[in-house]
Amino acid sequence: MRWLARLRHVLWSARADRADAELDEELRYHLDRQTEANIASGMTPEEARLAALRAFGGVDQRREECRDSRPLALVDSVRQDVKYALRSLRKTPGFAAVAVASLALGIGANTTIFTFVDAVLLRPLPYPDSERLVVLRERPPASDDTVNVHPLNFLEWRARTHAFTKLALVQTIPDNVMTPAGAEQLAEVQTTAELFDAFGVTPVLGRPISVADTRPGAAGVVVLSHAFWQRQFGGDPGVLGRQLLLSDGSRQIVGVAPAGLRVGTVDPDLITPLTIDPADPSAIGGRSFQCYGRLRAGVSLEQARAELAVVATDLGRQYPLDKGYGVFVSTLHDYLVREGRPALRLLMAVVAAVLVVACLNLTGLLMARGMGRRGELALRASLGASRGRILRQLVIESLILSAAGAACGLVLAVFATRTLVALTGGALSVGIVGPIEMNAACLLFTAGISVATTLLFGLLPAWQASHLPPQMALAGRGRGTTVDRKHHRLRRLLVVSEAAAAVVLLVGAGLLLRTFSRLTNVSLGFEPSHTVTMSVFLGDRPEAYRISLLDELLSRIETLPGVTAAGSIQFLPLSGSSCGTGVWIDAQPTGDPSHGLPTNCSLVDGNYFKAMAIPVLEGRVFGTADRQGTRRVVVIDGSFVRRYFPGVDPVGRHVTVAWTDTAPAEVVGVVGDVRHDGLTADPEPTVYLLHRQTPGFITSLVIRADGDAAAQIPAIRQAIRDVDRSQAVSSVKTMDQYLDAALARPRLYAALVAGFAALALTLATLGVYGLLSYVVGQRAHEIGIRLALGADRRRVFREIVVQALALTSAGLATGVAVALALQRLIAGLLFGVDARDPITYGLAAVAFLAAALLATMTPALRASRIDPASALRYD
């Protein structure tokens, strides 16, 4: 790059130099001829020369004018301006450093957040015509939430709609395979034959899942993911036709999926056929499937929604389980970024505000600088520099500042993006396939905002400075003139705006911090410290084996020294998965689950309640005496009691839970509520079934230890290997880490916004300080006179403080008004705190006023300590 720049420089200046040389020769020729003519008319050579020069009238000035009329004149004079601007910035390194640093922070923050916005919101998913790739979900009656899809409904949608070229039903299950490294848990995506067509991709090797593969009784086949193929088979193209041993038997490898195929949020390792029996679709499960489709060309999302709404109404009449249910249709991209979008929008607004504050600050600084330089500028103007030329030079100075700011900001953004990606673990970018990295769009954005910032902060001061009447500027310092008053008014306006923006950000940060603190203080219903958890997939093994395997795992782990309790649950609280079903109390007639009372349902085993430290409120929890074949027992939680057994003792009553094995069971105890569905969701009525009596497939172990639970992990892994060498374990973490992940987003939002608010507050404080210092400097003369005439120093001090207070309270009031107006932007990200929370507003105001007061002290003290003698000598 450097040699290129040098070459260009050489060519450029060579061209300019040649033109200059020719111009000189031309003018010299003229002067020589005129001198000769003058000599011919009788002058001495000396006189002739001088007369010729006089007649010509200022050779240098003419040369300038000729240069200006050259096509490249603009480039030349801009180059000159750049040189000049650099020199003048070098003379005030403090100013240049503050300006570049604040711009770098503002531009860096914007570029960083934009990189995320670009990767998450703007970049399409990496599939052909990805805007036609849609996701279909079910919408329960009177709910804004969506739930997974019932296979019955999938069959009906596929048969009755025309809006889609393909609809695929998918379910992801964990699977155990034996690898050289030991048992490994894999993500197996079971799908109907349409998946590849819906995503618009083709296998890189072999064939996709076919319709024949999904027929009942078809031979077992599997398509490998690209990553699994590389990892497990080293990318061997001869893998087709080989057998892969899975927990439910051996399958033939028929294809390899293309790299980067992500099914929703799942990176599959294996893709296998999903068989739906048209006669009994519910045989494979209830509302626990995902549906992906491809919109037919020319069909809009709205048309598809309308078509499905009609179908859903029909189905609601036909099937009890569909009564009141609607269909949710969205592009896959929109669906995946639904949680990231509001946060990114907020963050983008926040960093934009920071940049605006930085620009306003810089405007103030440049205006002050312009006032300080009016002598210099006036001199240039009176020496013939046009107003436009001075304006241009000042704008170029601003451009240099913002270019330097952008360059530093870009470097900052590269590091900030990397750090954020590493720290947030994808909290901002769930479901996005591509990496979060800077690309051409981001660079363009940076260039765009740096030009925009220049216009924002550079034009006003430049215009103002270039429009000073030169005679006035040269004559005196123009104190108390109209220009000066206008200058003050503008700068006050700037500082008030800056303050307002800082207040808005402070309020936002306060709200998010309070949300975060509310979330961390939410009563979970269990005690996360000193526990570890891991996911164990029991697989499609025989029922009796699953029961004995889990029992043996838990009892073996519980005998480890230091372990106090071991239990298991099907879906951990806060995992995002839960299982809803219907329940009947006492002797109510049972029937279709959708006609029962709604309840959450959890399969637990071992000493789950002890391991999670969930309090037992009444009765007892499951014991070793409760086994398969003994009386069926359940444990319910407080919410269940309040909803379905209000005011009565539930212990000893009977409930019937719609499950694989629907039979009445006795309530033996009541435990405390657990926030199962998320930190912000109120506990739902929950009934706990015993795994030993109703065995499941998926389970998570929870192990409580005396001291450091993480230290027990190797021993626990060994214990599991000892019981069954082929048993894979995944998602091993302490419960604290698990909770941390659940809090990652709110923590990130609060931390980011608080950081930006602090930045904005610093800049605004600098703005207040800068303005007051300037005012005190301007009024030094006047204050000196007053002090000389016997004015009270305390009064001078008070006067400056009052002026500052007027300024800051105007900013505060504006900020509060703007924050109230913008509350919708943040409301969706809050929990347990109102967007108009008076405490937050109060704290933000106090923080802001404290900072502003701090900024006021130095100038006010300086004003009150002015030495009258030196102030009067000043001029």
């Binding site: 031309e26 003018l27 020729y29 003229h30 005129q34 004018e65 000729c66 009329s69």
Partner: protein
């Protein structure tokens, strides 16, 4: 010397175009010719001639070539381009209208 006003500037352009329409000339000769042709009434500010020449050149109305002058030195000769000839036509008509209008007003009063 103050900067020429627009009227003077425009007039100077017309004079230059007119003078070099006869033959290519260098700057000093153009100044001399204008003085001679106007019977010394019009004294072109010699300095202001060159910016005007360079401007006309960058407008494409005249083109410059280095040639040998009558006293044997290298000099820059200016000649009219096709565009320049068209411009001369237009400017002359414009000038005719303007001057006759001014004449009418001045003589009427």
């Amino acid at each position: 010397m103050s900067k020429p006003t627009d009227l003077v500037q425009g007039t100077l352009d017309l004079l230059i175009l007119k003078v070099i329409a006869l033959e290519p000339m260098h700057g000093w000769a153009i100044a001399q010719r204008i003085r001679q042709m106007s019977d010394s009434v019009l004294q072109v500010g010699q300095g202001s001639l060159y910016p005007a020449l360079h401007k006309l050149e960058s407008q494409g109305w005249i083109r410059a070539e280095w040639g040998e002058s009558e006293n044997g030195r290298r000099a820059k000769y200016y000649a009219l381009t096709r565009d320049g000839r068209r411009a001369l036509q237009a400017e002359s008509e414009q000038w005719g209208r303007l001057s006759s209008a001014i004449t009418r007003i001045v003589e009427a009063s």
